[in-house]
């Protein structure tokens, strides 16, 4: 019955442009992410990768272009007279709650305990009863291996632990998509592994993931597709093998040689 049904991509980006003042950061990005796919975005600093991610959940407002999350247009709506205008704020909030984001600097709330960091959104946004929120939070803290730290304040955790709490916080909302903005770039090398482990586990479980990363090993082994963004455009997009081993694109090869030799 559902055979031959065209599945709506989880994320669809059409001709995305974004400038900050005079600086044009995204110059026409097109992308599609299927449900369950793990997309790894690589590229030099300043190439627009983080901005792209933040446009997906409208933390940054694009200048032009369309973003569809699970088929729904993000950030804009069609008025009755046919004109495209800004979306209602509550729709943006609703759609954001379906998308989890993990930041480079963790961004945990310091005045709340680990447990409270995870329950806060459940209680405030999803209006879940506190006792149920705690149960959910404990489940996800256990999943990332930090259940024993639940009453601690974030300041007392290592970077790797804080990032895992941040992941639990995002996962607790049961999002359709998880986005990682250089989630391990601010971590000491020996702490990177524990976070990548959690991310890999998530990928195996079928989560749709968009991962901006410098961890080429992760991109190679966990990514379904690798996207190389250079100066605001997608320079190349392929399977990990296609990018890392068989790329014919000179810019890609130049970038990889710099990064892989570091």
């Amino acid at each position: 019955m559902t055979e031959g049904k065209i599945e709506v991509p989880m994320i669809k980006v059409e001709d995305l442009y974004k400038s900050f003042g005079d600086l044009e950061v995204l110059k026409g990005i097109d992308m599609e992410v299927k449900k369950g796919e793990v997309i790894c975005i690589i590229g030099a600093s300043g190439s627009g990768k983080s901005t792209f991610l933040k446009c997906l959940n409208y933390l940054e407002e694009p200048d032009s272009g369309n973003i569809y999350i699970d088929g729904e247009l993000m950030g804009r709506r069609k008025r009755r007279d046919g004109k495209m205008v800004k979306a209602h704020a509550k729709d943006v909030y609703r759609m954001r709650a379906e998308m989890g984001m993990v930041f480079q600097l963790f961004n945990l709330w310091p005045h709340r305990s680990v447990l409270e960091n995870v329950t806060e959104a459940l209680i405030t946004v999803r209006k879940i009863k506190k006792s149920n929120a705690i149960k959910t939070a404990e489940h996800f803290l256990d999943k990332v291996g930090l259940i024993d730290k639940m009453d601690e304040k974030p300041a007392f955790l290592s970077g790797g632990q804080q990032q895992r709490v941040a992941i639990a916080r995002a996962l607790a909302m049961r999002p359709k998509i998880m986005m990682f903005d250089e989630a391990t770039s601010a971590l000491d090398p020996q702490l990177v592994g524990e976070v990548l482990e959690v991310m890999e586990e998530l990928a195996k479980e079928g989560m749709t993931m968009v991962v901006v990363t410098h961890e080429m090993g992760f991109a190679r082994h966990v990514g379904d597709r690798v996207v190389f963004i250079d100066e605001g455009v997608i320079e190349e997009e392929n399977t990990p093998e296609g990018i890392f081993t068989n790329s014919k694109n000179p810019r890609t090869k130049e970038f990889l040689s710099k990064v892989l030799h570091a």
């Binding site: 704020a89 609703r94 954001r96 709650a97 984001m101 916080r169």
Partner: protein, 220 residues
Amino acid sequence: MEFFDINVLREQYGYLAIGAIYTLGLTSLSMLFGISIGIIISQGRMTKNIFIRSISSVYVDVMRGIPLLILLIWFFYGLPMLIDYSFSPLFAGVACLSLKYSGYLAETFRAGIQAIEKGQSEASFSLGFSKLQNLRRIVIPQAFRIVIPPIGNSFVSMLQDSSMVMIVGIWELMKRGNSLANSTLKPFEIYTAVGAFYLIMAISASRINRYLERRLKLVR
């Protein structure tokens, strides 16, 4: 001749004490209004709207720059001539103290809110928080802790500035002190007492401020 005539104080301390209560009341009321206005102005300073932002900046600069004395004279003696309406001394006193300090307090609130790094709010928004929810649950609880000490300092500062309102005819502590010093011909004793009253109020306020600081740190 005695060095210090304690008797004149025994007779007059009640008169001065009432003046101290006036001063305390004046300061407390003005702080309340100053804080309320300050919160609004601080929001204006942080808004995206360039027009509102500019007006708020000008407001802050003017209120911080204009001497309280000038503000009082202009408000109580000048403004009535323009709008053909006269204000009571109490109204003028509270209004001027509130307006002047709202400038300082607005900057205190702005700094406190902006001290909560943008990343925390980005995390809130990425989880689906509304702007209001983020302010209420994440920003203000933390900013609150930051602004308590400066507010306490402003209070102590205003306690002393409040003596300025005697020029519009409010019989607060300093005005009473002046009057007594003239009538009793014992300025040294009277002003010592006046100083003692100010000191007691200021030190008490500082103590309370420090206590609040400590309590807020321990609770969370």
